[in-house]
Amino acid sequence: MNPTDFEHLRLELRRGCLILAVLAELRSERHGYALVKALREGGLEIDENTLYPLLRRLETQKLLASAWRVESKRNKRFYRLSAEGRAVLAWLLEEWRTINGAIEKLTEAPIAAARRKA
């Protein structure tokens, strides 16, 4: 597989996880750049050009609420999880755990079989 194809697959895999991470981080209010830094510190590197439009889409879906406020003499847009967003986050986390468990099982079974053969 060439690197471009792999990158495409990797991005696809990350896309869904990213929404989950963003929703989880916005349980406490943050402005865009602070969110980028928090995600980065949590080990999730993200392209800012992907994040900000994503925030707007999540806001359009009423999962986030935003407000402009002045902080350190700068006008900044602060995002936080809405009530609907909290419910969706809980469902998504549940889904995430199910998927994660299934993937673990599916990937571990062939490895264990291979070990037994060896």
Binding site: H31, G32, Y33, A34, Y52, P53, R74, K76, R77
Partner: protein, 338 residues
Amino acid sequence: MSRELTNQELLDRYIQAVKMALMLPPDKMEDIGAEVRSNLESQMDDRAMALGRELRLEEVSAILKQYGHPVRVALQYREQPGRALISPALFPLYWFTLRAFLAVWVTIRLIVLVFVLQGTSPVGTIVLHLGRDVLLAAVIIPAAVTLLFAIWEYLEFKFRYSERWKPEALAPVPPHGLHAAKPRPVVQIVGGIASLIFWGLALYSPSFFWVWGARGVFSPSDALYAMRFPLWLLAFLVMSQSWLAYTRYAASTWLRVVRIGVTAAGVALAIVLLWTGDLLVAGPNWNPTQAKSLATLNQMFAGVLALACIIVGLGFVRKFIRLIRRSSSHPPTADLAS
């Protein structure tokens, strides 16, 4: 001598370029522009704090460059960001060209329907013409323009914004903001194409015009006929320089020079035309009862030309006064050419 660009000006240019590429309603455009600005300012503050000093221009430029080309940033904010047929780099130009073509097509067909077919064809024929025009405008023109740009994209025409761009080369923010400046090129291109067609038909084939119930009622005057090529060339140049304003050459000095030259040539040609007197004279099918209408038409043309000269002249005077004021309010190193 050039005044050095400030960090704030560079950021303003970048935000303006993002907003222009968004092609969204003004309220959304301003909101997204403010958000991008806020994010960039946060990054710059962070960087300045880490360095313990104010950022230099090249450091601000590096942050903007890393943030991405304004077109790419803008495209991420659009409703459907994934466009494979036409890349983010070409999309604004494609969208603009498509709208310009459609505007010209609709204008021309409306003129033909209202002035040429009216009274000479039955209503049914006009409706049929209208139906065909709608089909052409809705399907064939977008398809043709899209195909052209898709081929352009495929051939990887040397138009790679994302790799070669420099934040410093972005267009300066116009003094009255983005809204005042944005529609100008569209109007110029549509006007330019309409002028090309009009002058082409009027001067090379005056008998095309069906007015007052017959063809060949009027002809261009000798002076106007003699100037047909410069007029056609002027319309072509106006159109081309407006189109170039949507390309990466928008902020280049040579384009500014061309713009000034084209405007000056336009004023000069208008003055010469006004000087020569009537632009239209009686044609082979003219009859004396149309004399008053012909005179009115000539007066109208003369009025439009005179008005255009006055407006452009006043524009020049205003710019000149502003230039003098700016140069007197800046230190001696200020940019007198900006």
